[in-house]
Amino acid sequence: MMKKRKDFVIFFIFVIINLFNCNTTLENEKDIQDEGLKCCENATDQRLIVEFSSSIVEHEYIIHFNNYYKKETRRKYIILALDNNSEIKNFTIVERQNPASDYPSDFDVIHLYEKTPLKGLDLLIKHPLIKSVSPQRIVHRTLKFLNKDDEQEEEIVANNENDGDTNKVNDNEDDIINYISKHLKLDTRTANLKNKQGECCVAEFQNFRRGLSSSTSIDTSQQQQQQLPIENNVNSHSNRRLLRAIPRQITSILKADALWSIGITGKGVKVAVFDTGLSKSHPHFKKIKERTNWTNEKSLSDGISHGTFVTGIIGSSKECLGFAPDADIHIYRVFTSNQVSYTSWFLDAFNYAILKKINVINLSIGGPDFLDRPFVDKVLELSANKVIMVSAIGNDGPLYGTLNNPGDQMDVIGVGGMNFEEKIAKFSSRGMTTWELPEGYGRLKPDIVTYGSQVKGSNLKGGCRSLSGTSVASPVVAGAVTLIISGVLKKMDYINPSSVKQALIEGATRLNDNNMFEQGHGKLNVLKSIKILSEYQPKITLSPTNLDMTDDYMFPYSSQPIYYTMQPIIVNVTILNGISVTGRVAEVQWYPYQNENGNLLNVSIGYSEILWPWSGWMSLHIVVNEYGQYFEGDAQGHVAITIETPSADDPSEKLNSTVNFSIRCRIIPKPPRQKRILWDQYHNLRYPPGYLPRDSLKVKQDPLDWRSDHIHTNFKDMYTHLRSSGYYVEVLGQPFTCFNASHYGTLLLVDPEEEFFDAEIEKLYDDVTNKNLSLIVFADWYNTTVMKHMKFYDQNTRQWWVPDTGGCNVPALNELLNSFGIEFGDKVLEGYFTMGDHHDMYYASGTSIVKFPKANQSVLIERDLVDQGSEILKLPQNGSHQKDLPEIDLKNVRVKHKEVILGMQQTVSTLSSRKGGRIAAYGDSNCLDSTHMEKACFWLLDALLEYSMTSHVSGLLKSMNRMQNIEFTEKTKPQRLLHNNLHLYSKILDSNDRDTKRPLQKCRKFNWEFPYFLNITRSFINEDPIITNNI
């Protein structure tokens, strides 16, 4: 009900659901396919090893014509071309005995013996209708069938051979594919000639080819023509790729079929699907090893098709194909047909999976609650037991900061979704993780992305359908991982959650248009990843691998350069330990590059003492030191981190591995304070851990405020706007007592849920009045009656939930602003209005200003608004269902009242008669927050910043000023809700006593790492050498 994970909101498919009737679209294929698969089933005890070599055939040449001609026509042309010369008589046209020879073709093979070499060839080439002449090649290939016993020994060898060859042809993806597809091609024909079992497997493959072809518009006769040249000339692959361009199966898009053809089919790997179950006799699956039910429903079958679809992507062997048709599939039913699930069901099911020694688990589930300790601990426990967890990252995009648990855990492979246009899908949740806020900064997630939009998979009772969502992308990766592992079973000792993640990350192809919080390390590349894993040696790697502020991929780091006196930028690096389940950080060192201005950077390094399970973290705080005060350009260096792990051979022995993290920062001179904005992060709270209600009460589906209100999450659009307006925005993750006001023009305080320390209140007053700091506040609603009305029974945690604050904490905010004579009221207001001629505004559940100093230069603006609070109270009290959350009936005639929504004020110094900073206060934050935003008001923020930074009031705001006409009557200001639980997770209130504050939190002191200067001009960590800063 609540959007907690506990609901494990199944990522349903909200994007688009298309039902495909496969019976019609696949009709032609089906029979052949079935046959092929059946045959191959028989052949599973043997494996096909293919070797091939090619050499030029003397005196034979392929004549390529400009167009398609009939056999007789072609012959005439050749004779015509050669007959002019009496020297050349010794040629014959090689007859082709295949069905295609009845159709026009664009080539011939001739046998030509010349006394004067190349003369005849020359004549042929000069002929206007002949495009090219090339030597004929003969291809030798041998097929070996290995019996099962031999197989194990040969398996890795075969892989290595592959790898060796692919190395030769280059690491380029196309080459790998070509290489593998070469094998495929060759299989087809030799097998046809020689071996019946071979023929079967080929039938399967050809069938796919046919599938591919039929989806293009090329008719069959032409197709044959096009394929023929390939048969005789292994060098030309370009034609084939065209046909491949519109594949019909996700498995062929990701080249899984290439692995099947060399016998890698998922065999020997146990993959578990934690979902809504699967019916017993589903026609698509060959090896359902076990089905178990962990819900309170007495059924093992899937009632809503989610589980069937997900299982299909992993292991279907018919119609819409899955990645690992021969894997052992274990079905864990943990969701009822009503999509209900509890943490406790998962705990028991997970325990069973550990006992069963499952290799890969797919979790197409998730929710925002990363503080569900029992669940999170259990996922860590699974990882520690070498279970590879693959999970969907969430369908809450395109907003940032919307990652779902468990996909956001560092030990889990979090999968995002992309579409077939090679762009990140809109629905796919974006990074960063929000666990670390406000003091730290989020991790890089998702780890990897793959197709998750309009993917075809198994339907409830057979047949296929198309679905979208990260629920779909997750099993694509889980299936691919299963398939990959089955190809490297010999290396099973090296397979663990981190080594697999390393192989996926290193193999991934980066997308051009998306940044790291959208695409992670890029798009899944099955072939590259299997290659990496087959050569894998246990190692430590980092994610992200480096920091480069000049690379757009590194948004948001690339969006703003750093400067002296700036709040530190923080990089949260995940350490992937492929060597052992535990490890320890033995040493960290900072190596600035002497010749690359590395001396201008100060770096502070924090890290998790223990790396467990298979992973850990390192945090870097980076600032520009005073030597960089006036510098403009790039500064470089690297951090070296040494990890101590038990050695694999003898756990009592220690092994040290060092890995480098290269840093490249863009530095600019310190901007003037009128350009610098400080964003208060410290006073923003979000779900979990408490019930913090949404800011717009009209929105029903999403009752919680869970996106952490950071400039890189739900306020990213606002941040981007401010950056393009030329402002520099910094984030304050500490109390107000921890910043120097003289550096900043404006403190931006938006939607704070937290309380304020007394010392903060005093300091801010002094900063504004005496240090010329300006303050802009965007408040939100707070009404205790409405809050009580919003309580509901949460079935997942089996307890009542009452909000702990309103949209923001107005009582605390009033205390902060009290000394400025500003107060917000307790009404919940809503309404549409315009400001000026063309600024449409929507006030989504905001508060109003009930007290404001009326000085000469003050500006007060009022608008007609509806009392949304009293409307909500008229509705029946919530039941236990989210559906029952307040709904506002817009059809009724609504009474509007004039309410003050905006106030602007110039303060006066308490020490002298000089002017102090300025304050602007607005009653609603929804127009800055991309969550459920209806109408943005960045223009208003611009106008307020113009005022706060330069004291200039824009003409528009001046024209709306009603200060003279407004009389504030004494109104009751909102009191804190009695018995609220804010103190349980507040950083400011005493957790044992909601009425007392803790002692003021100390400001963080950084211990800057000792710099070990290196005399380096190029970064040796990146693959691309970094060009020195003469750009």
Binding site: T292, T343, S344, Y352, D372, R373, D377, T582, D649
Partner: protein
């Protein structure tokens, strides 16, 4: 005349609409009835199959710790708990630091901090530390407690217990936090959440 009258009668809107409504109602009833029958049939069949499938019968007898001899020699090979941050339990019931784990998978029994059947942090068969629980649970004296726990297990737990082969497997599984360890789904009931005995269910 009569024919005309009859025709006229049938052309009246009221009559036509009545006919239509009747047909529609008939169709809907028929269709629904069919659907219902289908759904019921399906449910019935499915459930039938499912019940058969969940077999929680043990296939071979559980091997209790007391029945297996360990010779404590250098060359002995052990399964162990593999997951711990610092601590490891081997199948013989020895708990040791990871540093004292030998390449064979066994704890180094000579090491100072290695203990057998170690019940530190445990109270009433529930422990704070998972490895303590497993080590303690492996004590042959605990067999009656374990037998009782198996007998009283919930349906979901029964499936788990029916698939363990020996006492080590059983202790590894039973000591993990499970549906009985949580309250309100999101919280642990107690810091001693690793138990090898039956605890009160939260449901």
């Amino acid at each position: 005349m009569d024919v005309n009258r009859i025709l006229c009668f049938f052309r009246k809107r009221v009559v036509l609409s009545l006919i239509f409504l009747f047909s529609l109602a008939y169709f809907l009833l028929q269709f629904n009835a069919l659907q219902l029958i289908k759904i019921q049939n399906r449910k019935f069949q499915d459930d039938d199959i499912e019940f058969e499938e969940i077999s929680i019968k043990r296939e071979s007898p559980l091997i209790w710790r007391s029945l297996k001899e360990y010779n404590l020699t250098e060359n002995e090979i052990c399964r162990n708990s593999q997951q711990g941050i610092n601590l490891i339990v081997d199948e013989r019931g020895f708990i040791c630091l990871r540093d004292n784990l030998k390449a064979t998978g066994c704890c180094d029994i000579q090491a100072e901090q290695t203990h057998i059947y170690f019940c530190d942090t445990c109270d009433a068969n529930c422990c704070e530390i998972y490895e303590n629980c497993v080590s303690c649970c492996l004590n042959p004296d605990n067999v009656p407690i374990l037998q009782k726990a198996i007998a009283q297990a919930s349906d979901r737990q029964k499936l788990l217990f029916s698939r363990v082969t020996d006492q080590f497997d059983l202790c590894l599984s039973i000591c993990r936090s499970n549906s009985n360890s949580v309250v309100n789904e999101h919280y642990y009931k107690s810091s001693k959440r690793h138990c090898f005995t039956k605890t009160e269910s939260s449901e």
